[in-house]
């Protein structure tokens, strides 16, 4: 079954590979609480106490790590899809 053309499938392939690599790495960095990524956490402006803040930050770090990994998994799906499409397209042109 052919859904997308050769260019779109190639584009999907490249972005999927990029997305998998970068999102897995970013998930890893969120998981180990990388300070460089603290600005990307869904945190509020003020917290009552330091403990509250730490707890919220840890939660957010873990949450983001899982989000990244799930998004990476979705990219695995698109990778498979576009790889299949790419294969179909290349077979069509070969014939």
């Amino acid at each position: 079954m052919k859904i997308c053309g050769p260019k779109l499938s190639l584009c999907g392939l490249i972005i999927s590979v990029w997305g998998i690599v970068q999102l897995v790495l970013m998930g890893l960095f969120f998981y180990i609480n990388s300070v460089a990524l603290i600005e990307d956490l869904p945190l509020e402006e003020e917290y009552h106490s330091l403990e509250d803040f730490y707890a919220a930050a840890n939660r957010a770090y873990n949450q983001n790590a899982y989000n990244c990994w799930i998004a990476a998994c979705i990219y695995v799906l698109t990778l498979l899809l576009s790889a299949q499409q790419f294969y179909m397209n290349s077979r069509v042109t070969a014939n």
Partner: protein
């Protein structure tokens, strides 16, 4: 010296070739591709040259090949792409064979085409008849009762009799659909409404026999009464190009006829398909050889064009040609010539004479696939003068480096590297792509430049510590928090003083702590501005020094003292000194010292200091600080400025005065009986016949330009800072405005939102940051090389060496 350092030495040669060996010799030379012929018959009209008939013959062959090619394309047969075994130019016997072959194929094609058109029009007529017969079925169903006569077939007598009996006559035919309405109206007018027209549109279009275009037609039957009316209707039909067909009115007859027509159509179809088969068989056999034939004819034509540049000897015994040859390639050319003579078994060898000349030879830089891209960048500004020092050699490194200073980001650099590496690794496969478009050709031609730019951008990205605008803490930040918890909790902003909150220096590049700092941009600006000025001054000093290489090579030793020394002094004493002050400032001021004048608060601004130095002014330093960085700095500065100012008249007057004196001496020498020819031949300088006043004006322009450009070019290098700042900020904004949105989403939709937003971020990164920013950084780098670097030594007044080479001719044709 190496190949890239300056262009190759060229020799002007005279070639004497026997007429019978001329064709093969030139063919051999075309295969080697290292000879540039000069036109010796400039005054001769193109139609009066010696080998016009041969060129015409080639043109005729090319026309035939083009015709067959279009026929092949019409049939949808793919021509094989030959790149591996390119045939050599054909020898005379092969030419005759080729001509006969092409002639035969062409006439066969034309005959086939004519037959086909005939048969197709036949076929069209029959189909139309069939359609008429089939479609009129409906019209006649009610008239059958009236027992109409088909007036078409009936004889005149019968017809007249029929009319007396009050019978109606009719004509049936086919007409183009777009004419139907006009036709109907016309019929109505001529008969005053006494013609009854029935029509039905044909659903499928018929094919025009000559062009193959679809035509839509309509079947009509016109009923009328009377002979006169019939004639008139027939006239109208011919006027409207309607084709009339006989059509019996009785059902059985029609059935009979339809059957008849069908069998004839079947027969015709068979014949048509057989002709089609025959045609495609002929084309298929031709298509295998056609590409190599077309290459052979192209080579042949090129050879005769080249031979037209040759001169005939007075005795008509040999052809004489003049050509530029790189001296290194002289043995190759000689071998090609002897091969050419041997091929025809000529007893008298062709020979090659190197002749002396005062003309400027063409510039030839031997390049390989790596250096070609860089050489093209230089040649786009202007082809180097003969034997001038070639900036492409240094551009190989400085170009990617200056690009990377503006494009410093590890992530974006990695994308460039992957793209470049893919093109380099698959270059054999990719080189076969013929019609990739102009943009692809540019990218592919510059694949090594892109690869190098990517690698350097990764390096500078590491130095700036930027990966898609995020920093990496590879070695552990050397800064730490020295405040207690309550201070941190109560203050929105805190300063980390370097003497109490930092230990040591981050081993490589920027400390990652700057990513979180509020004053990151302020710090980076001053750092990157200084870096760009340092690189700029180094680059320009290098450029000015390159002029020495030119002066010594062209033996203009006086110019070293009259041009190079004042130029380099001017540059070094002003801007070189500024660079020195930057380094001195970095080394001498320290946060950990307790000595008041050496604390960071006392560090003077280099720019203010430089302005004061130029204007001989003073600024009051803050309390407890020194105005100057070291003792005797004011005296030193004053001396530097004065010497630099002295350089200006030195540049302005030195060279013209020198020329004036040498001229006077030469006149003396001539007077005493010496000839000045030898000195002239050395080409000391090209001002030999210029009047003095012009020399003064030229030198004044040069001097003013150099002095002003030293200042403006130094400032121009600040674009290194500006673009790298813009790039870093843009990638940070993209991360915060796009990707951050996805990351900050919480809950179940977070991952899906991140998935979508990440895709958008990827596309923006590619389109804006890599493609657009990369292009702008590339252009600015190009400008820095062309204007700021090359203007210091490069003349670029040469003309390129364009050898007669089959490869270039064939490649050039394909590009068109």
């Amino acid at each position: 010296m190496g190949d890239m350092f300056r262009s190759e030495e060229m020799a002007l040669c005279q070639m004497f070739i026997q007429p019978e060996a001329a064709y093969t010799s030139v063919s051999e030379l075309g295969e080697t591709g290292c000879v540039q012929f000069r036109d010796l018959n400039v005054n001769v009209n193109a139609f009066q040259r010696k080998f016009v008939t041969e060129v015409r013959r080639c043109d005729e062959l090319e026309r035939k090949i083009r015709y067959i090619e279009t026929e092949i394309k019409k049939d949808g047969i793919v021509l094989p792409d030959i790149q591996d075994d390119i045939p050599r130019a054909p020898n005379p016997r092969e030419i005759i064979d080729l001509e006969a072959h092409l002639e035969k194929t062409e006439s066969e094609m034309i005959e086939l085409a004519q037959n086909e058109v005939n048969m197709k029009s036949n076929y069209l007529e029959l189909t139309e008849l069939r359609k008429v017969l089939e479609n009129t079925q409906g019209f006649f169903s009610d008239q059958e009762v009236l027992n109409l006569d088909s007036s078409n077939r009936a004889g005149g007598d019968n017809d007249a009799a029929a009319q007396h009996r009050g019978r109606l006559g009719f004509v049936a035919g086919v007409i183009n659909r777009e004419r139907v309405f006009a036709f109907e109206r016309m019929l109505w007018r001529i008969s005053r409404g006494n013609v009854f027209l029935k029509r039905s549109d044909l659903d499928e279009p018929l094919n025009d026999p000559a062009t193959g275009h679809p035509i839509y037609k309509t079947v009509f039957v016109a009923f009328f009464q009377g002979e006169q009316l019939k004639n008139r209707i027939k006239k109208v039909c011919t006027g409207f190009h309607a084709s009339l067909y006989p059509c019996p009115s009785s059902h059985n007859e029609r059935e009979e006829m339809v059957r008849n027509v069908r069998t004839r159509l079947e027969d015709l179809k068979l014949v048509l398909s057989q002709t089609e088969d025959h045609r495609s068989r002929v084309l298929a056999t031709v298509s295998k050889n056609l590409p190599s034939w077309s290459i052979m004819v192209k080579k042949m034509k090129a050879i005769y064009h080249t031979l037209n540049l040759f001169n005939m000897d007075v005795t008509k015994k040999c052809l004489i040609g003049e050509c530029w040859v790189p001296t290194n390639d002289l043995p190759v050319v000689q071998k090609a010539l002897s091969d050419g003579s041997a091929a025809v078994g000529s007893t008298i060898p062709s020979f090659l004479n190197v002749i002396d000349t005062n003309e400027q030879p063409p510039t030839f830089n031997r390049t390989n696939k790596f250096t070609r891209g860089f050489q093209n960048l230089i040649d786009a500004y202007g082809v180097a003068s003969y034997r001038e020092c070639n900036p492409a050699l240094y551009t190989c490194i400085t170009f990617p480096f200056l690009f990377a200073v503006m494009f410093g980001d590890l992530g974006h650099g990695l994308i460039l590297v992957l793209f470049g590496a893919w093109m380099v690794l698959c270059e054999r496969k990719l080189a076969r792509i013929r019609n990739g478009g102009e943009i692809w050709n540019i990218f592919f031609g510059g694949r090594y430049i892109i690869l190098l730019m990517g690698l350097f951008a990764m390096y500078t990205g590491l130095v700036y510590n930027d990966v898609f605008s995020k920093s990496m803490n590879l070695f552990g930040s050397r800064w730490f928090n020295n405040y207690n918890t309550s201070t941190v909790l109560t203050n929105p902003n805190l300063q980390l003083p370097p003497n109490s909150s930092a230990v040591g220096v981050y081993p490589f590049g920027m400390d990652p702590v700057w990513q979180l700092a509020d004053n990151k941009i302020i710090f980076l600006n001053s750092f990157k501005m200084k870096l760009s000025i340092i690189f700029g001054v180094l680059h320009m000093v290098f450029g000015v020094c390159m002029s020495v290489v030119n002066f010594t090579h062209f033996k203009r030793y006086a110019s070293i003292f009259l041009e190079f020394v004042p130029q380099i002094l001017f540059l070094l004493l002003l801007f070189g000194y500024m660079v020195f002050m930057m380094f001195f400032k970095w080394f001498s001021y320290n946060a950990r010292t307790s000595f008041q004048p050496e604390t960071p608060g006392c560090a003077p601004s280099v720019l203010i200091m430089f302005i004061n130095m130029m204007l001989f002014k003073n600024t009051e330093p803050p309390k407890g600080c020194n105005e100057f960085m070291f003792e005797s700095q004011p005296q030193l500065q004053k001396a530097f400025v004065l010497i630099a100012l002295c350089c200006i008249p030195w540049m302005l007057l030195g060279k013209p005065l020198y020329i004036k004196f040498t001229r006077k001496n030469k006149a003396h020498a001539n007077h005493n009986g010496f000839s000045g020819n030898e000195e002239n031949a050395g080409g000391a300088h090209g001002h030999d016949d210029e009047p003095m006043s012009e020399i003064y004006i030229h030198q004044a322009i040069h001097t003013i330009e150099y002095v002003l450009s030293t200042i403006s070019h130094t400032a121009s290098y600040l674009r290194l800072w500006a673009l790298s700042l813009a790039h870093a900020q843009l990638s940070e904004v993209l991360w915060q405005m796009v990707l951050s949105l996805g990351l900050k989403m919480s809950g179940v939709g977070g991952a899906i939102g991140l998935f979508i937003i990440f895709g958008a971020w990827c596309l923006f990164t590619l389109a804006i940051l890599v493609l657009m920013e990369g292009l702008s950084a590339f252009l600015h780098t190009l400008r820095l090389h062309w204007v700021e670097f090359m203007s210091k030594f490069y003349e670029g007044m040469g003309y390129a060496f364009q050898p007669f080479s089959f490869k270039a001719i064939l490649d050039g044709e394909e590009e068109e």
